[in-house]
Symmetry: C2
Subunit: 415 residues, 2 copies
C-alpha cells in the first residue's frame, strides 16, 4: 500500500468515545455505521446536524453526502418535519392504539404509490422486506423466493450478508439469480418448480464495492412477466432508493408495477419508520399473518412521514436532488479528466457511487475520501452515497473545491 | 352469550377513522393493538396522553392500565424524558454514525444489568430476541434453541404466533418445553443431542388468556444448570417485564443470571428502542455476526433511555409500581368478594392479569372491562396489564370506584 499522507486529523473526543465504547459494545459498534469499515481518519461519533451539514463529536464540520446512509432526504433537521414531530410529541407518541396520523399516512401512501391499494408500517427496512417475503408466501401458499446474488435486503437470518449464526434452513427456500440477467432469473424460477412465492428485487443494483446498475427495462418487464405467468409476487425492495427516484415507486418510470413494495430509510426524513405497500391481491394475506412491534404505531414518526411525503410530492425535491447530483457528477468528471484519474461514477445521480479504475484494494478510493474529509467533505469510498433536498448549488461547489484538491493529491500519490 | 348491556358509547371520530382505515390498511390494523381483539366499545384511535391518562380520538379520558402494552414505565410524556428527547432532536437524531449517547447508554446498562458485560441496540423487541438466538448459535456453533410452549418472543418467522406465511424450515431448530417444568426442559434438551445452542425463556410466564406464573426458583436454577452443563446460552426474554421487576434483570431476585438478555418496551419510556445485553463469552459472537438497522443508532431514543434508566435506578419507581399494583389488586379482591365474583389476579402486581372463573369465552371479562371503560378506566380482558410510576394512589382509588360498579354489573349479569 502506498504511504498515506492525508492529514490524520486529531479527533480526541472521538478517540475517547471509541476507547469507552469498545469496552461495552462488541467491536465498538455493530453493522453498517461501524467506522472500522472506513479509512482511519473518519469520525465514528457525531454531535450535530443541519441541512446537508454534519458536525462530528470534535466539532468538525462536513458537507455530507451520506444522509445517515439514506434516511435524510429533505435535509437534516428539516424545520417543518421537526415541527410536526414536536407537535405530535407534545400530545403523545404511543398509546394503546394508533393516532389518526396512521390513517392519514396510509391514505397518503395509497394516493402516492402507484401500485398501492394498502399500507402497513414497521420500524426497520428489514421488517418491511421480511414482511413482503412472508406475505408472498401467505398469499401464494408457496415457499420459494428468488433474490439477486449479492443484493442487500436487510439483516434478518434469511438475508443478512454474514452467515455467522445463520442456519442452512433459514435460507432453505431462498434461491439466487443475477440482477439484470433474464436467463438466470428464468433458470432459478424453473428450479423452483411450481413453488415460486415471490421474486424480491432492489430498485436498482446498489451492491457495495461495485459499479451500480440501473434495471434494464426488459429485465424489469421480464420479472413482471415471470410473476404474472407463475402467480408469484413481484416484491420491489425500495428501502434504499425509495422516495429518491420516483415518488410513485422506483420502477414506475419503467412502467413495471410490483405486487408488494418495502420502504423505509427516507420515508420520515430520518425518524424511524418502515412500510409495506401492496395490491389487493395480497390484502387477505396481510390480514391473516401476524406481524407487530411495540413501536410500530408510534405517531411521531408518522407525523414526520406525512410532511416528508407531501414535500417530496408537491415540490421539485426529487428533481433537485438529481440536479445537485448531476452538478457534483459533472464537476468530478471534469476534475478527474484534469488530473488524469480514471474515476467511475455510477448509479442515479442522486445516489452516486464513486470507484477508481485499477483500485482492487480501494487504496485510491480511501486516499480520495480521506483527502476530501480533511477538507470538510464526507464521502464514502465503496458504498452508494445520497443527495438530499437540502444540498444547494453552493454546497456542491464548495464540495467540488475539496474534491479537486483530493483528486489532485490522489493522482499525485498513485502516479 | 349474555346480553351486553354496557353502554356502547358513541365514538364518532373513532368510527370514521376505522372506516377510512379498513380501505387502506389490511383489516384496519395489524398485530397486538388491533381493537378487533377487544370488546366493541373499545376505542381504536388515541389523540393525547399524560401521566397515567389517555384520551381517545373522541376526547374521552381514561385512567390507563396498559401503558401502550408496556413501553410507558415512568408515565406518558414524562417531562424529563421528553426534555431530553427535545434537546437531542434540537441537535440531531441520526447521522453517519452514533452520537455520544450510545456510549453513555451502553455504559449505563453494563453498570445496571447484573450479567451485562456489553450491550447492543435495536428498534423492536423482536430484533433483540432474534439477535439473542443468532448470537447463541454463533457463540456455540450449534443450532437448536428451546422455547416454552405458548410463550411470545416476537413476530419473526421463527417465533410469531401465527404460522401463516411461515415455512417449516423457519422453525426447524426450535423445540418446545413447558414453562416451569424441569422434566420437559430436560427431555427437550436431550432431544437436541449435543446441538443445543440456547434456551430462551420469558422473565415470567406472561402468556395471554391464562393465569400468569412466576418462574419457580428451582426451574430458573435448572435452566441455568442445563446451560452450564451443555454450554448452551441462557437467553432471558426481558422485553415485556424488563425494568418493572428488578432493574438489574428480572431473574436477579432468583439469583440466576442469563448469558444473553433481550430488552425493549420500557427501556426508553415509549421511544422506539431495544437492546441485547450479554456476557463476555458471547462478545466475539456479537462482533462476528452482521446485524444492523437504519435507525438503530438514533440518538433521541437513547437520550430517552438514559433518563428512564437513571430514574428507575435512582428512585423508588419500581417499588412504587408494585405498591400501586398491590393497591389495585387488594381493592379488586375486596370488590370481587363483596359482589360474589371469582376473580383471579395473577402475575407481578405491577403487571397484573385479571381473569374470571367459569369464563371459557371471556364473556365475563369482556363485560367487566367494558363496564370499566364506560366509567373511564382502560383495562384488558385477557392480556397482562402494566402499571407505571405515574399511577398515584388517587388514580388507583378512582379506578377502583369504576371497577366496583363494573364488577357489580358483571356479577348481576352473570348471576
Amino acid at each position: 500500500m502506498p504511504e498515506q499522507t492525508a492529514p490524520d486529523r486529531a479527533l480526541p473526543a472521538d478517540a475517547a468515545l471509541r476507547a469507552r465504547a469498545v469496552r461495552v459494545i462488541p467491536g465498538g459498534l455493530w453493522g453498517h455505521m461501524n467506522a472500522a469499515r472506513l479509512p482511519a481518519s473518519f469520525p465514528q461519533y457525531f454531535g450535530r446536524s443541519e441541512g446537508c451539514r454534519l458536525w462530528d463529536a470534535d466539532g468538525n464540520e462536513y458537507i455530507d453526502f451520506m444522509c445517515a446512509y439514506g434516511p435524510v432526504v429533505l435535509g437534516y433537521r428539516d424545520a417543518e418535519v421537526e415541527a410536526a414531530v414536536a407537535a405530535r410529541l407534545a400530545k403523545g407518541d404511543i398509546f394503546n392504539g394508533p393516532a389518526p396520523e396512521l390513517v392519514e399516512l396510509a391514505e397518503a401512501l395509497v394516493d402516492t404509490v402507484a401500485h398501492a391499494d394498502w399500507a402497513m408500517f414497521q420500524k426497520n427496512g428489514t421488517d418491511a422486506t421480511t414482511a413482503c417475503v412472508t406475505l408472498a408466501r401467505a398469499g401464494t401458499g408457496r415457499r420459494k423466493v428468488l433474490v439477486a446474488k449479492g443484493a442487500y435486503h436487510g439483516a434478518a437470518p434469511w438475508c443478512t450478508p454474514s452467515l455467522v449464526g445463520v442456519t442452512a434452513e433459514d435460507r432453505a427456500h431462498i434461491a439466487e439469480f443475477a440482477y439484470n440477467d433474464i436467463a438466470s432469473l428464468q433458470t432459478a424460477a424453473e428450479a423452483a418448480e411450481g413453488e415460486l412465492a415471490g421474486v424480491i428485487v432492489s430498485a436498482f443494483r446498489h451492491d457495495a464495492r461495485r459499479d451500480q446498475e440501473s434495471p434494464a427495462p426488459e429485465f424489469a418487464r421480464a420479472v413482471r412477466a415471470l410473476c404474472d405467468r407463475t402467480g408469484a409476487a413481484l416484491i420491489l425492495d425500495d428501502v434504499r432508493a425509495g422516495f429518491r427516484i420516483d415518488i410513485r415507486g422506483s420502477w414506475e418510470p419503467l412502467g413495471v408495477r410490483p405486487d408488494l413494495s418495502a420502504w423505509s430509510k427516507a420515508i420520515a426524513n430520518g425518524h424511524p419508520l418502515a412500510a409495506v405497500t401492496g395490491t389487493d391481491r395480497f390484502r387477505e394475506a396481510a390480514q391473516s399473518t401476524f406481524m407487530t412491534g411495540s413501536f410500530w404505531c408510534g405517531a411521531a414518526a408518522m407525523a414526520a412521514a406525512l410532511v416528508t411525503l407531501r414535500r417530496l410530492r408537491d415540490t421539485d425535491a426529487i428533481q433537485h436532488m438529481k440536479t445537485m447530483g448531476e452538478r457534483l457528477r459533472e464537476g468530478l468528471a471534469a476534475q478527474a479528466r484534469a488530473h488524469g484519474v480514471a474515476l467511475r461514477q455510477t448509479g442515479p445521480a442522486q445516489m452516486p457511487m464513486l470507484l477508481f479504475d485499477d483500485d482492487p484494494d480501494l487504496a485510491k478510493g480511501d486516499s480520495f475520501v480521506k483527502e476530501a474529509l480533511a477538507r470538510g467533505v464526507y464521502l464514502h469510498p465503496w458504498h452508494n452515497m445520497f443527495l438530499s433536498a437540502a444540498h444547494r448549488p453552493e454546497d456542491i461547489d464548495l464540495a467540488l473545491e475539496a474534491t479537486d484538491a483530493a483528486l489532485r493529491e490522489t493522482a499525485r500519490r498513485f502516479s
